[in-house]
Symmetry: C2
Subunit: 454 residues, 2 copies
């Protein structure tokens, strides 16, 4: 018969326990988004290829999953074109749709298509899977969820402040201790300006990032290697050696970047964000980190990244401000700021630190053992009462051997088992067994419901 | 610049209000599934094509969305093959993956792949989108959600009973009045047996279904037209004219089907299900309906369908028992029973009957008007308190004109607005405006939180 079935590489099935944990993550993030007035949208898994192509660089185009047109997808293709076997070029003839690669481009497309229905500033969140034909490897999947929140149509830095509060609240609720790192593209631009090496900003931040590991001399050597002039390196020293509290760093930066209007604007923005946050009692540290340079081409203002303190893992959340979300779709001037929680990594961190609350992975609370038809009929009436009281309860559907039924309770981690044999049936009562302690009590149905409702 | 973006036909964007309504539907169904001990799983959007092909008939194969292989998908194809332009055949060379078409086949694949980890009976639910390259039309989409629950690995009819309770509970919570129709494949087989027309069972049920509309004579005429013998038609009369309470129908069926062992088994099963449900106080009627014949080839026992009483619309939920979920993947003997809620139709019914509870579509409860930097800073501290108390609250991020800010509150349907101008700031208080009544009250931050927490 058929070969053993398998699933596409880089994709995953999620078991009940994994789903319960994932739902806990998504529900936590969702509920915090709601507290801050963000509204959910969803977009289709498939987008038209012109919506997706050219938005993620040449490499990204290759990583798009493309969907073959229905019907005769050969129509309009000459023999020559076919025999050219030009896979990338013909893919666009064979396919007009692709699976979304992230949530940002579909969001931009959404804003453009629904601009007349939307009230700006528009605060939206979106929790959906995305697909990338990346080479699968540990911790990297071809299907994974993103959890994005963005505010578009507002330049106010209060949005940045609130996003940092959201990050702080979410990780506090998870019980994950984090450091929230913040930087500003304008500060990086200023740095490049004052040392006259605007095009080497990535090399510079990469080198500075290694200070802790390789020491100052090696950082400077690396800068030289990348072709940065001695003069520029000298000017960079106060920035490389920048340390201390955020306020001190900002003071130094103000001096170093004094001749860069853009740089000073970045300092001012960062000072506002950090200063405002100071009064709001965040539970996690927010640190100005000049080596933070994610998505340099995309972000235009604040940049954020979150690191877990107690687990060795990459960034678990990131985001920043951008100037032109929708220009590529013909709607200029829509600026915004957003964050994205890395659900898969958060899942791993919560697992490693064993931080899932018991409530989050709670399944069935009560299993009725099935002793036969008459007993089962009585159990069903009690089950109805228990469920009406919100208790997750089930009856083993078959009159199987006791051992098998108890194994089922154990496998599902059900904490209480109800036994209704002949005696209980005659008395109209239930024996409730606590699976952890083994303790048994004879209860009326009402007492049973009351006991488990607590 | 770029052409106006669009989305693939048959797909949809969901706005914040639509999402809130859809989440209400999914959350309601999910919470009832939980009460009955069902556990959630998720499977990848993409399956290997051999998993999907041949499972939905020839027509179904054509309706699968196929995903083009990454890289050089021409490899191994001869010129002749290419120039044959045989679209269906070459699709399987170009593509090894497809988007799932329903949740049942992926579930079967899941059970086979995870058989060693699962404890049977396995009660799973799954709420995920599926994709079909159907011709889009009103109410039919190319991407839509299914909400399935199945119990596999148990023959007990208690599973059927509990699924009917689930249906009853879900629609009671929605406030949708329904009729739950039930039939049994074995009764239909019995009918075919006793009249000696086993292969015409579909024609027979289709004809009987029209009794109300066209009358007995026309039903019989249609049966004759379909080539059913006079003798068979005569034997069918008591079944066609079957009416009255379920118990009466079952009594008649017992007599009519007396010579069919299978038929009697079907009557017995149905009697057990209906009899057991009688004692459980369902809020909606359960009706034995012999014309119900959905998925005749798939189902082997009980068959269910749910009709809304107050809206003209097709079936909004359906399901039944099957004998062999996983045989096609080399794992025989896995029987089960399941239901599937039609989320899109339920969405329409709730809209038409205006049944969404206010709570379900509740967004932001409180908007702080932004009067400038100092006032906003004070507002942020109150916002932190309000959110800590679970109040969904936001501040308009920009210091825009009052009118624009109030329009924002109106557009988002925010019921309360907080005003903190110079006077309030000096007093450390907030003016709370009820947007429905226009009433304004001056409150301390604590009073504000208390007022809105109620």
């Amino acid at each position: 018969m058929a070969a053993k079935p398998c699933i596409p590489k880089g994709t995953r099935d999620f078991s009940p326990v994994e789903m319960a944990k994932r739902n806990y993550i998504f529900d936590t993030i969702r509920s915090v988004y709601h507290l801050y007035g963000f509204q959910q949208i969803e977009t289709p898994a498939m987008e038209m290829l012109p919506t997706l192509m050219g938005k993620y660089g040449e490499e990204g185009d290759k990583l798009l999953f493309k969907i073959q047109n229905s019907g005769d997808y050969f129509s309009g293709l000459t023999d020559e074109e076919l025999l050219s076997r030009n896979a990338p070029k013909l893919a666009c003839k064979f396919c007009e749709k692709g699976l979304r690669y992230d949530l940002t481009v579909p969001f931009a497309r959404y804003v453009v298509m629904h601009r007349d229905e939307l009230t700006f500033p528009f605060k939206r969140y979106q929790i959906q899977p995305v697909w990338r034909a990346d080479r699968p490897q540990k911790g990297r999947y071809r299907e994974f969820y993103q959890c994005d929140a963005d505010v578009v149509g507002s330049d106010s830095l209060l949005n940045e402040v609130e996003l940092m509060q959201i990050v702080d609240t979410v990780f506090s609720r998870f019980g994950i201790r984090v450091c929230i790192k913040i930087n500003n593209r304008k500060i990086l631009t200023g740095m490049a300006e004052i040392i006259g090496e605007a095009d080497k900003i990535v090399d510079i931040t990469v080198a500075i990032d290694k200070l802790d590991k390789i020491g100052l001399d090696n950082v400077n050597a690396e800068l030289r290697e990348k072709g940065i002039s001695e003069e520029a390196i000298a000017k960079l020293q106060p920035i490389i050696l920048l340390s201390g509290a955020n306020a001190e760093k900002l003071e130094t930066l103000k001096l170093v970047l004094a001749t860069s209007e853009t740089g000073l604007k970045g300092v001012e923005e960062t000072a506002f964000i950090l200063g405002t946050l100071e009064g709001l009692g965040l539970k996690n540290e927010v640190e100005l980190d000049l080596t933070l340079a994610r998505g340099l081409n995309y972000y235009t203002g604040a940049i954020f990244e979150v690191k877990a303190l107690d687990v060795q893992i990459g960034s678990i959340t990131g985001g920043g401000r951008y100037d032109n979300l929708t220009g590529v779709f013909g709607m200029p001037g829509v600026s915004g700021v957003g964050i994205s929680f890395g659900a898969d990594r958060i899942f791993d961190v919560l697992n490693q630190l064993d931080l899932y609350p018991k409530e989050a992975v709670k399944g069935t609370q009560l299993l009725f053992i099935n002793f036969g038809q008459c007993e089962a009929a009585f159990c069903l009436s009690i089950l109805a009462k228990a469920r009406a009281a919100g208790i997750r309860a089930e009856i083993y559907p078959d009159n199987s051997k006791m051992k098998k039924q108890m194994s089922y309770a154990n496998a599902k981690g059900i904490p209480f088992v109800a036994l209704v044999g002949e005696n209980e049936l005659n008395e109209g009562k239930v024996t409730l067994k606590d699976m952890a302690t083994g303790e048994q009590r004879l209860l009326t149905p009402d007492e049973l419901v009351e006991t488990l409702s607590r």
